[in-house]
Amino acid sequence: MSAVSDDPLVAAEVAPPPPSPWKRALGKARSNPTTMIGALICLLILAGAVLAPWISPYDPADQDIINRLQPPGGDYLLGTDQFGRDILSRLLWGARISLSVSLSAILAAMVIGGAIGMVSGYIGGRFDLFVMQVMDVLLSFPSLILGLIVVALLGPDLVNLIVAIALTAIAPFARIARAPTLALKERAFVEAGRALGYSHTRIIFRHILPNITSEVMVMATLWLATAVRVEASLSFIGLGVKPPTPTWGGMTRDGFENILDAPWLAVFPGIAILLLVLGLNMVGDGLRDATDPKLRNE
């Protein structure tokens, strides 16, 4: 590093740019054991879901009626359900539904809600007031009730489930994207962009968006946990993806109906849901603490 000049102007050019807030947060989260355990849980479940076709011992829909309601152990590691289907294989395949529905729903909510929040905050004035009023109304519905009604009215299938869960999460994303936009649009670099004749679209997406991604991403991790919970709850009520496709909520519901004879049917999928939500919450918490300016210097 002997090439670094003593001239402050040159030194400023040579010094590497400070790491982005997102990178700094990731670095900090990595040193937090809770976050790492959470990440490990999530990765294991993700691996199980992705590898399900190769690692699941049986076909999740195969019925072995002679061996129905087998307790855990033996040929079927986690036992069989009332149709003699292997619980472990159904859990692995069910992880695919839980993860894909929640991820797509949160991605949709993040893009739509984030765009609404940024545009609303950027335009400001009465438009902003109106949009935020609409978001407040949307927020006043309990998410489970809103999801319940939307799925019931549209019909229970994979896409409608995603739409329903996304709808419950749009308002919080709009709020989290709007707040920093209000502050950012007063900053000199936005004004400079306007003076250079950049379009509003370019300013919003090229100059404001990169500055709010870390907040929105942290929110997304925390809401992913909620989305998994809502998906499982809807499936438990009977408004999830239709049988025979295995879903964790649906498996818990089937198990609940046989709770006196075969309690493990409800317990294993219940533990799976708990672990995934717990893992996501642990990761989300760690990321939030790492990005929270109030806690940054602790």
Binding site: V134, P142, A232, F236, G270, L278
Partner: protein
């Protein structure tokens, strides 16, 4: 104070109107003819036309909207398509069960969350604090139906401490309370966990303020400093969370009612969804939102009581 109350209640009116409008829109943008959805595909055109007329769906949209808002504001939500009884009567019959459960869970959440949060804040980064944080992380991660099933398996089926069937006789108080225990703990768990967290961080902030040092310097007993000076100033975020969570409690009560087989709003809403009871559903959505708007208004009023500075703003 009085004007603050009036102003806050008036401010809830536009929100309520907006919510009603949203319910009206949601029910109408659903694809398909509601009459055919209710009657099934095999319905004769005459039967469908008769039902449309009975529901008022043959009238112009603006007329439907005006009569919907007018009826809702006077408490008339129509009659259930399945039972033929007024929606409000159906709701009134089960509302005590839902209110029992929601209020008991709220009390459970506050009664466990606030002391645990304070305790954790007073022992920051020590074993108690770490335990409280881990417990609250678990509490936040339990879907209501999973904790309900686990509670049922352990306390009702294994140890036989509580009944499996949760439907209680409302006139028999000991029975009513006994059957309320498991559903309350199940439903209140998430709230208790969240309140623990919020109380902890709010207390950490308030205990580092100058007025706490002043109070200690003039010899106020430590217990009083924590519970009066500290907690009062930490109470706004706690009240906010309680207010927010009442909505979540109402939503999650659907699951608790299914697991513990209790009557309530949640049971009715699932029944109405399965039987496509269109008027019931519309009425229930309005009632749910009405409850939430009222809770939000009460939360704001409490801000004014707890912190007089809010009134001036």
């Amino acid at each position: 104070m009085f004007f603050f109350f009036v102003r806050r209640l008036l401010a809830a009116v536009p929100t309520l109107l907006a919510v009603l409008t949203l319910v009206f829109v949601i029910v109408r943008i659903v694809p398909g003819d509601p009459a055919l959805v209710i009657l099934g595909d095999q319905a004769t055109p005459e039967a469908a036309a008769a039902l449309r007329q009975r529901l008022g769906l043959d009238r112009p949209l603006w007329e439907q909207y005006v009569s919907f808002i007018g009826n809702a504001l006077t408490g008339d939500f129509g009659t259930s398509l399945v039972t033929g009884r007024p929606v409000l009567d159906e709701v009134a019959a089960v509302l005590p069960h839902t209110i029992d459960l929601t209020v008991a869970s709220m009390i459970f959440g506050v009664a466990t969350g606030v002391p645990l949060g304070i305790w954790a804040a007073l022992h920051r980064n020590r074993a108690v604090d770490v335990a409280a944080r881990i417990l609250s992380l678990f509490g936040l991660s339990f879907p209501v139906f999973v904790s309900g099933i686990f509670a049922l398996l352990l306390f009702s089926l294994h140890w036989r401490l509580f009944p499996v069937i949760g439907s209680a006789n409302l006139d028999d108080l000991p029975d009513r309370l006994h059957k309320l225990v498991l559903p309350t703990v199940t439903l209140g768990l998430i709230m208790a966990a969240y309140i623990t967290r919020v109380t902890r961080s709010a207390m950490l902030a308030s205990l580092s303020e100058d007025y706490i040092r002043t109070a200690r310097a003039k010899g106020v007993p430590w217990r009083r400093v924590v519970w009066v000076h500290g907690l009062r100033n930490a109470s706004l975020p706690i009240v906010t969370v309680v207010g927010l969570y009442v909505g979540i409690l109402l939503g999650n009560s659907v699951l608790t009612e299914i697991v513990f087989n209790r009557p309530g709003l949640g049971k009715i809403i699932v029944g109405a969804l399965n039987q496509r009871d269109y008027t019931m559903l519309q009425g229930l959505m309005v009632i749910y939102c009405f409850l939430i708007v009222v809770v939000n208004a009460v939360t704001d009023l409490l801000y004014g009581v707890l912190d007089p500075r809010v009134q001036a703003a």
